[in-house]
Point group: C2
Chain length 92, copies 2
Amino acid sequence: MYVILVYDISFEENGQKVLSKVFKICKKYLHHVQNSVFEGDLTEYQILALKAELNVHVRKNLDSIIIFKSRNKKWLDKELWGIQEDKTSNFL
Amino acid sequence: MYVILVYDISFEENGQKVLSKVFKICKKYLHHVQNSVFEGDLTEYQILALKAELNVHVRKNLDSIIIFKSRNKKWLDKELWGIQEDKTSNFL
């Protein structure tokens, strides 16, 4: 399953700490391709594990996470303009 | 063609103005679903028109735009956690 994950973490109520945790969790499972955008090929089990980890930190009343899933990477074309995320970026 | 567009506009060199222009152009073609994330169903012609408009403002050395395209919306599942973008948001 090809996954695109985008998040918008509020800076309210210690949001910086949440942001750093969410970023690190996403980096474990997916490629960081833009500011708050990650993508990658995951199994259903990995998706469940990723969501379980995120669920501990994400505040449903403050933050937003969208996960797009395509059953096959071939069904998804991608076009990138401008600068690419630095592959070694460990923090956004 | 189902499109997901994400952008990361640098605040350098008058970036706030670029951001506002890019946001308004994207709003013309797509639904604003999260901070810098838009989605919607577009024809090939509309995608070309959107890109032509964005191309005037986006700085390839500073900004980043990623366009994911799925030939069919049915091939793309979407999951949303937390707060939804306010449908009437006219500025991020």
